[in-house]
């Protein structure tokens, strides 16, 4: 069943889209729809924060973004309670074996045009916990990652940089 991806962007309706990422890009001829999508995405990115075994340092810095001092709602970035409404998956922590199953489930529940931002050194490369028996190590062994924020924990400004870079990456149609 061919999903009308652009339409579902306008009305934020989650029509299941059986086209996975790659073949969507092959469908370049839908120029009108991809232009619509770029216009729609410029406005707002809804983020879902996923803790896969992090030490809470980065999680608190991510939540600082939504409190008065940094207040990323100015850019339309909003923290949503469930992955079904989210465009960006903000992942912290080296994936522990016990949360491996749930990370996959959360990633699959997100509607198709989805992006992953990894915050923190231990999510990017395992950091201090390299070589532990209960960890997968870095997040990109499991999910395709679009942006990394290095730091233990990363400064909130650096996380805002990552969102800005992600928006530029979407605008350039990657």
């Amino acid at each position: 069943m061919y999903s009308i991806d652009g339409i579902c962007i306008i009305f934020k309706v989650n029509i299941p889209c059986n086209l996975d990422g790659e073949s969507f890009r092959e469908g370049r001829k839908m120029a009108l729809l991809s232009k619509l999508r770029k216009w729609a995405f410029k406005r707002s990115l809804w983020a879902f924060h996923l803790n896969t075994g992090s030490c809470n340092g980065c999680d608190i810095e991510i939540l600082d973004l939504f409190t008065p001092k940094y207040d990323v709602e100015r850019f339309g970035i909003k923290l949503v309670g469930s992955p079904r409404h989210a465009d960006v998956l903000v992942v912290t922590g080296p994936i522990t074996k016990k949360s491996l199953e749930r990370v996959k489930r959360v990633y699959e529940q997100m509607p198709d045009p989805k992006y992953v931002v990894v915050v923190g050194t231990c999510g990017s490369t395992g950091g201090l916990f390299q070589g532990s028996y209960n960890l997968l190590g870095s997040v990109d062994k499991l999910l395709p990652v679009d942006a990394y924020v290095i730091g233990c924990p990363a400064k909130p400004e650096a996380i805002i940089d990552a969102f800005v870079k992600l928006m530029e990456k979407i605008k350039s149609g990657a």
Partner: protein
């Protein structure tokens, strides 16, 4: 409802300047001594390798290099760094120092690496 305290709080918020920092337009100024991205000066380095032994997340790897006295210099893979600063403390010639640059958001992991030329 504690009307007295709430009213005072509301007026105080009206008068004070906003708490929001307008980040991307105004770059926030970090205090001195901030632990940002490392900077490495090859001329000061003698190649002793103490930093490699002390780093908790094996960021530093000594690679052969002509410029130092012991013919090897550290290569930093900063995507593993936790910015703890133990290498900065232990370096005998202060070749590794902290900068005040906190822009650590990258698209590919190796954008932050420091390779001594």
């Amino acid at each position: 409802m504690p009307w007295g305290t709430l009213l005072r709080e509301a007026i105080r918020n009206l008068v004070n300047k906003p708490a929001t920092v307008n980040y991307p337009l105004i770059q926030t100024k970090v205090p001195s001594g901030f632990r940002g991205i490392l900077s490495f000066d090859i001329n000061k380095c003698i190649g002793c390798g103490t930093c490699e032994r002390v780093c908790p997340t094996n960021v530093i790897k000594m690679i052969p290099n002509e410029k130092t006295r012991l013919k090897k210099a550290p290569r930093f893979e900063l995507s593993k760094c936790v910015f703890c600063g133990s290498c900065v403390d232990v370096c005998p010639t202060k070749a590794i120092t902290f900068t005040e640059n906190y822009h650590t958001a990258v698209i590919r992991k190796n954008e932050l690496d420091i390779i001594p030329e």
